[in-house]
């Protein structure tokens, strides 16, 4: 149970998730709004319906993650 292995590394990455996610609250809200709009409207949710919003969120998240590594 000592040293680093794939489990400790991936757990360490997951531990940083909330911090990184908080840096992208604007993009997250935009994506969330896009998806939740389908639960009330006529528009049905399908794959990649909010692809654009998700790409923005992911780009922001990945950038934030890279910033943290340095």
């Amino acid at each position: 149970m000592s040293g680093t292995n794939v489990w400790t590394r991936s757990r360490e990455r997951m531990r940083r998730f909330p911090e990184l996610f908080a840096q992208c609250s604007g993009e997250a809200a935009a994506y969330g709004k896009c998806v939740t709009a389908t639960t009330t409207g006529i528009q049905e949710l399908r794959k990649d319906l909010c692809g654009k919003e998700f790409d923005a969120l992911k780009t922001c998240f990945v950038t934030a993650a890279k910033k943290g590594v340095k």
């Binding site: 909330p18 997250a28 998806v35 949710l45 990649d48």
Partner: protein
């Protein structure tokens, strides 16, 4: 709420043994007190859940589960929704965590509420059983004037070794909730807190509980059910649907509260009481919800669960959870619906419904109650 937690003494000894020990059979029939009767009548009065034709919501098995059922080779079981070996492993893992006490908040709360319901019954129980005790979250709230001796059972040996100290003399037995290793008519009281929701054959387990109870013994249980964790379920479903084009269950199926009365009735219990408590816990985000559930040993172990969650889906679900349910201070709620059930093993001394046709007042006259009737005047 925890009116009865006084100072605790150290004479509660706990010896873990793998050998299945049969409890000493006491043939004392509890004396009937008027107070106890009154108490129970009050409780029966608010057990008003209409019987529903559906047996249990757990019967919702997919095609895939059908195949798994044959593979698992468990003969006799009518339902096989959960992977019990996986559950045991999850509990073992959770109990071996360094900071496992950090995740006990829900069990502590529900355990104290179950203990509260034990105090509602004006009786002393010579021998009691706790099914799925975890770290004995109920026993620490009980006094030895109420329960004189307690048997603790759990499927995880690790958590039995970590049981808390209690003033009641206890014995630990490692046993599966689905196969109770006790003689019939042994216990005066059976309690269970937050473990019955992982049982495959709930009707069978309840029948077994009924069997190990003495006549006029009582079962007090709590399990999660109903709409528990609907926030997590919905956000994961929406996220998977949008990202991957389809979804699979990540939150296990729960028993509906409307089914519970029927289940208890079929297991042979009488004078049923069923009620729901909603506990809402606020978390910083979706990841904290999931890691806390894991720490509680409550990760999903349904056979039809999907073993992985795509990283894009986690990110999407986090955004949806935040947007749909998040509050202004950026915390997100997770709802736990706790179903409490109380059932009595039938006994001749118990109050029974009056005979059909024995009423001498019409329900049509209900509105006239309180008004002086004309007959009295004459």
């Amino acid at each position: 709420m925890n009116n009865a937690i006084g100072s605790r003494f150290l004479n509660g000894s706990c010896v873990c043994r793998r050998v299945l020990k049969i409890g000493s059979v006491r043939l004392l029939v509890p004396q009937q007190h008027d107070a106890a009767h009154l108490q129970r009548n009050v409780m029966t009065a608010h057990s008003t859940f209409p019987p529903v034709k559906e047996l249990s919501s757990k019967i919702r098995c997919s095609q895939w589960t059908e195949i798994q059922r044959q593979l698992s080779g468990r003969a006799g079981g009518t339902m096989n929704v959960f992977d019990r070996t996986m559950k045991r492993r999850q509990k073992k893992w959770a109990a071996s965590l360094q900071d496992s006490d950090k995740y006990d908040y829900l069990r502590d709360e529900v355990g104290s509420r179950v203990a509260d319901r034990v105090y509602d019954i004006a009786r002393t129980f010579p021998l009691a059983l706790d099914i799925g005790c975890g770290k004995s979250h109920i026993a620490e709230h009980l006094h030895k004037e109420v329960v004189e001796q307690l048997f603790l059972t759990d499927i995880s040996e690790k958590s039995l070794r970590n049981t808390r100290e209690s003033e009641i003399p206890t014995r630990c037995v490692m046993a599966d909730e689905e196969f109770l290793p006790f003689k019939e008519n042994t216990f005066d009281l059976v309690v269970s807190s937050l473990s019955l929701h992982w049982i495959n054959d709930l009707p069978g387990a309840l029948r077994q509980i009924n069997q190990v109870l003495k006549p006029d013994g009582v079962f007090i249980g709590a399990m999660v059910g109903g709409e528990t964790l609907y926030e997590l379920r919905c956000s994961l479903q929406l996220a998977e649907l949008e990202r991957e084009g389809g979804f699979s269950p990540h939150v296990s199926p729960y028993t509906a509260v409307t089914d519970l009365g029927n289940l208890l009735g079929q297991a042979g219990f009488s004078m049923l009481t069923v009620d729901i408590d909603e506990i809402q816990v606020h978390y910083p985000g979706i990841l904290e919800v999931m890691s806390d559930l894991q720490g509680m040993g409550e990760s999903n172990c349904a056979w039809n669960r999907k073993s992985m969650l795509h990283r894009d889906t986690i990110l999407a679900a986090a955004a949806i959870y935040q947007e749909m349910y998040g509050s202004e201070n950026r915390s997100v709620p997770a709802t736990f619906e706790i179903l409490y059930m109380i059932g009595w093993k039938p006994h001749d001394s118990q109050a029974k419904p009056a005979k059909r046709g024995s009423a001498n007042v019409s329900f049509g006259d209900l509105s006239k109650i309180g008004q002086p009737s004309t007959k009295d005047k004459s």
